[in-house]
Symmetry: C2
Subunit: 702 residues, 2 copies
């Protein structure tokens, strides 16, 4: 009976029409053939000529090899797929003909082989070529489309629907008519945070709740452009917006009829982060429903004044800085009789002002318009796609200072928004993260130096108090904690921190033990200007500097002019938009020598990085067009009793971390012996760890 069935099945397998068959006679004992299946694993197999109609260990052995290869290919092609072995098997039809030593079966009818693989008496190693053929046989593309189908189905699960009521979305204030027959008249206002929601709520007290809903965004929306399926599915904000608007995955919209709201209005602060949030929302809609951006006045923004000038009862509002500057110019000297107030955040406006804006809503609303696929679509991708890094660099390089959106236009082209408004956010982000080549500072550091000069910080001051002074006098916006760590960083003087610390550390400013993370709280430590600082940044130069102005307050200069390039002395690190920076520290004496050569019209000599107090060595390990790579090595020596003694770690490898790293490699105690001056460290480790070289690579210098 067995034989009859096996013959029949064999014939069926070989005669199956229309599907490609990949065959390999692996060796004397194994013969394998693969074809495609449609979601259910199928097999035909023989052991020593007996048809094992339920397969068994020999089939698993072969099928697993094939499936895991295919799985790898699929998961590489679609990183979201998260393909499992059993799914892949469902798409395979495997024929196996094997000779097995002393085969064992599950029952008398010999339907399933149960011999363990180790006892087969032979192996079946499929060739690369065979596996490659299988992957290109169509199984991969079947699986890819299955994966896509599954992922889409999941995304569709979170689709919104057009219905009149919606519950379970905290903080949503739904318009009364949303999702009903007047839904096209409804506008959903997305606000930047809860306080902006409060402003919008004051506003819709005027225009009514029938046609206006409000939903506050929590900070920045996800950049969905290359986000993973998982990120999208788990992002509560994106899921909520889909539900509130009734958006459906992959649907093409030529009107807003199918949606719960006819308009989406974005209302953000009048600052760079506000522009970024607008951009991220545009990016989200463009990626998921590009058709929607073409529906006229679907996406609109609500603008609020950036400056108000008051004189008695007269109030003038300005919606862009150039407008204000022009007005100020036109008044000549008499502008000073007006009181100027900056309205950078939506929260600056009172509830009454919010009501005033909404009373005159037509003047505060601007439509985004889609001019042309190429221009607008490409601009959005340029700003948000991970694939456009090079283009983004060009875009930023070609930025013209003074660029800004003409706020008098009623309609904003998407490309204009990207190229004239969003670009300012990216430039600001760059400025925050990449130091000026002139003075080596990022704005935070420059503000601190500015304030130490302004306060004439020659007598020591408690750092906590100095923080208060800096945030009062230099418009520092990023929180006390970040200010504290910047001040502490500027005063640190342990190996690997500053070569010349501009501030003096008085108290615990951190050590090499924990890379400075062991600095004390700002309220316990003191600092003052180092005497050398005013020699590097001469007082006489102060009048030459170009001081910036924030909201009418005169703050730090656009840059200082140190007498030597401080960016080389203390180095710098940072990651911005499009670019990042890494400058190691150099020896001020080398720099000065080169400066003298330069002044004398001599050729300058190449310099190598240098860290004050570092006892290890530094070697150039490669030199390319993009920069030079150095390898920094600590000091390690063998001591007679099969142990290693480490007396210096590479720069910016900190003792505590390094000890944990050593312990994790080999849990043998590390003894530290310290001499009285806490400078010479000895660590002993068993010799078998000798291979472990302490190296840290510095990124290429640019």
């Amino acid at each position: 009976m067995c034989n009859c069935i096996s013959t029949l099945l064999l014939k069926k397998a070989w005669s199956y029409q229309g599907l490609r068959k990949i065959y390999q006679k692996v060796n004397d004992r194994w013969e394998v053939c693969v074809s495609l299946s449609e979601g259910q694993f199928q097999q035909v197999s023989f052991v020593n000529g007996i048809a094992t109609i339920r397969g068994g260990t020999h089939v698993d052995y072969v099928a697993n090899q094939i499936a895991s290869h295919v799985m790898g290919v699929v998961n590489k092609k679609n990183k979201q797929a998260n393909m499992k072995l059993h799914t892949v098997k469902g798409y395979l039809w495997v024929f196996v003909n094997a000779l097995i030593d002393n085969p064992a079966f599950d029952s008398q009818t010999k339907e399933t082989l149960t011999t363990r693989q180790a006892s087969f008496g032979s192996t079946c190693e499929l060739s690369e070529e065979f596996l490659k053929k299988v992957s290109s046989s169509g199984v991969v593309s079947n699986l890819l489309s299955w994966a896509e189908f599954k992922l889409n189905k999941e995304l569709k699960k979170t689709d919104g629907t057009k219905k009149t009521s919606i519950v379970g979305i905290p903080k949503l204030e739904d318009a009364n008519d949303a999702g009903g027959k007047n839904s096209d008249k409804c506008t959903l206002i997305l606000t930047e945070g809860d306080s902006a929601k409060a402003l919008a709520m004051a506003g819709i007290g005027v225009v009514g709740r029938d046609h206006y809903g409000v939903f506050p965004l929590r900070g920045k929306l996800l950049n969905v452009r290359e986000a993973s399926h998982k990120q999208l599915m788990e992002n509560a904000e994106i899921q909520n917006i889909k539900k509130i608007l009734g958006l459906q995955h992959e649907k093409k919209y030529d009107s807003t009829k199918g949606l719960r709201y006819g308009h989406l209005m974005i209302m953000t602060d009048q600052d760079h982060d506000g522009s970024h949030i607008k951009g991220l929302l545009i990016n989200f809609i463009h990626k998921e429903w590009p058709s929607l951006l073409k529906v006229p006045s679907f996406l609109v923004e609500f603008i609020t004044p950036i400056i108000k000038a008051t004189k008695g009862k007269a109030v003038k509002s300005f919606y862009s800085m150039p407008d204000y500057e022009a007005w100020k110019e036109s008044l000549g000297g008499s502008a000073s009789s007006w009181t100027i107030k900056y309205y950078k955040g939506l929260g600056t406006s009172t509830a009454q002002e919010g009501r005033d804006y909404f009373e005159d809503i037509t003047h505060h609303k601007k439509d985004f318009v889609w001019a042309d696929d190429k221009e607008d679509g490409e601009a959005i991708e340029l700003a948000f796609s991970k694939k456009k890094i090079a283009e983004r660099k060009d875009w930023l390089t070609n930025y013209q200072p003074g660029t800004c959106l003409d706020q008098r236009e009623k309609r904003i082209k998407y490309s204009d928004f990207i190229n004239k408004e969003l670009i300012l956010f990216s430039m600001a982000d760059l400025e925050r993260s990449i130091p000026s080549m002139v003075d080596g500072f990022k704005p935070g550091q420059r503000k601190i130096l500015f304030c130490s000069f302004k306060k004439n910080l020659v007598k020591e001051s408690k750092v906590a108090q100095f923080i208060g002074y800096v945030s009062e006098h230099s418009a520092y916006h990023h929180g006390e904690q970040s200010l504290a760590s910047t001040i502490i960083g500027m005063a640190q003087d342990f190996v690997g921190s500053n070569n010349i610390n501009l501030l003096e550390p008085r108290g615990q400013f951190g050590t090499r033990n924990a890379g400075g993370k062991d600095a004390a709280s700002a309220r316990y430590i003191f600092t003052r200007l180092q005497p050398i600082t005013r020699l590097i940044f001469p007082k006489d130069d102060d009048v030459l500097l170009n001081y910036l102005n924030e909201d009418g307050q005169s703050i730090e200069p656009s840059w200082y002019m140190p007498i030597i390039p401080m960016v080389l002395v203390n180095g710098s690190e940072g990651i911005g938009t499009g670019w990042s920076t890494y400058v190691p520290n150099y020896n001020p004496r080398d720099i000065i020598a080169n400066l003298k050569r330069l002044l004398n019209n001599e050729t300058i000599v190449p310099m190598v990085p240098w860290y004050r107090g570092f006892k290890g060595s530094l070697k150039e390990t490669s030199s390319k067009a993009t920069g030079v790579t150095y390898t920094i090595t600590g000091v390690i020596e063998e001591v007679p009793d099969t142990r290693l003694k480490i007396t210096e770690l590479p720069v910016r490898r900190w003792t505590t971390d390094y000890k944990e790293f050593l312990e994790s490699m080999c849990p043998i105690p590390i003894k530290e012996k310290e001499k009285s001056k806490d400078k010479n460290k000895e660590k002993k480790k068993d010799k078998d760890k000798e291979k472990e070289k302490e190296k840290s690579k510095e990124p290429p210098l640019k």
Copy 2:
């Protein structure tokens, strides 16, 4: 055969010696008897006279009733026990004789009854009295000791052992001789945080690593006094200290021979939190190993100067404020020629200073000494036990200003530490949390008012900038964020916030929608003094106030003297040590009327709380010696179409939260209709929600 076995077992059950048997004939059909077992559930049972030797549903039915009762009793007596039903059953021996309708068995031998309980045809409800007898039969105490045994076993699992090397504890710097034959000479220094560790590391550079180890504490240690088993087991810090010292659960120590270190040295900042940390460590050792505190010089502390006075090369260190004051006094006017520096944090000292302290370690080390069980033990419990709340109140009430530890003593009695040092922490905690009855302020609010007067804040200032000013001029230590919310809180004027806001809100300071949490960021909003503020706190009084001094800086007064009791006007809330406070808001007009009565020697009239702008009602619902309770009700009305219209919520019930609460009760849309002045709210809900009354209870007034 069945009958033979059943008779035998029955005899065995009834004749079992020495154990109490509790018997109940529940009704005609059920007869139950219970005795004790020793960890394995036993049963003897009959169904219609057939011995069910493996029990079955009838036995489960009875045994579960008994076990769940017992389980409840055990878990109530020992909250840590976490007793499970199957464990309880293991301690029971149950006899059941039941008559069941048409019983079904698992097999021909009828060993197990399988009839479902619903088909028994009768019930067996055990009497209260019977269950009570069972609980007092010894099963409860057996289970309690089993639970204790199990919990102790778990705690023992985390015991340390005396061994020379120890790995896997991040940040530990182990002494080289710890756990070895010289372990009694070793000292483990526990420091308050990583920066203090850096100081100790500098110090042991001097005294050497052989006998000194360092381990940084991460903030405050758990109060272990009434901590749950789970909290203890999951507290990494406590487990680490046990491991580093080699401490064993429940062991009695009469020397430190069994430990990895002979001494435990605590090194904290010279401030109240530092005292608290010392106290928590003492509490931990006292609770777990009281014997250890009696071992001479096991627990020691490391002290650092609190003030250093410098004049040229002369340096004088002071270890307590009274010492410093006395010295200053002794110098007369000439003290001003010395430079004074406060060393409140360990981080204030430089590495060099750390080395100096350790060079002279005998002068910086103090032993804690156990004078007598009653005095010291009770003092520690007084400070940390949840059971000593009343005693703690007395302790704090009897506090004498000026109390402090005599720092010249070489040895500190535990009772002295608690009563003269730790008490200052508790007093400071109270001061931070409970407002002064004179001006109604907590110190943070007072600092803000002080700075608004000092800065003469009559022109509006950006809140972020004002924060900088306050932290520079008033020694505010608790972070910018907390300062921002205190300033915003003082300027809020929506219903339920201030009756008289002393600062003026210009911009979005929050609304009733989110209870003020929807205020904008401090860098977007502006404030200034309300004109009324200087009328309540007259400028002429400024010179009469007692201004405090922090580290040489003159700061806010101990209290202001408003012309009316502001603590009643704006109310107050807070939780401190031993006490908490809740004062509702009152009507300033009522207060003034009463003040006038008081001035005219008339009887003052009782006042009821009042919230400016609130349209609901307030009713006294009870009046006791401890205070009066009021119920505040919003405004709700029935509208014809089976709906409810809410136009006012109770005070401090915020709209967003309340809507979420309604939605969670019944997911039917809540529609909001807002009139143009955003004051009148209408909410409609289905009538079946009418029962839902909006009430909020105020705690009793004291």
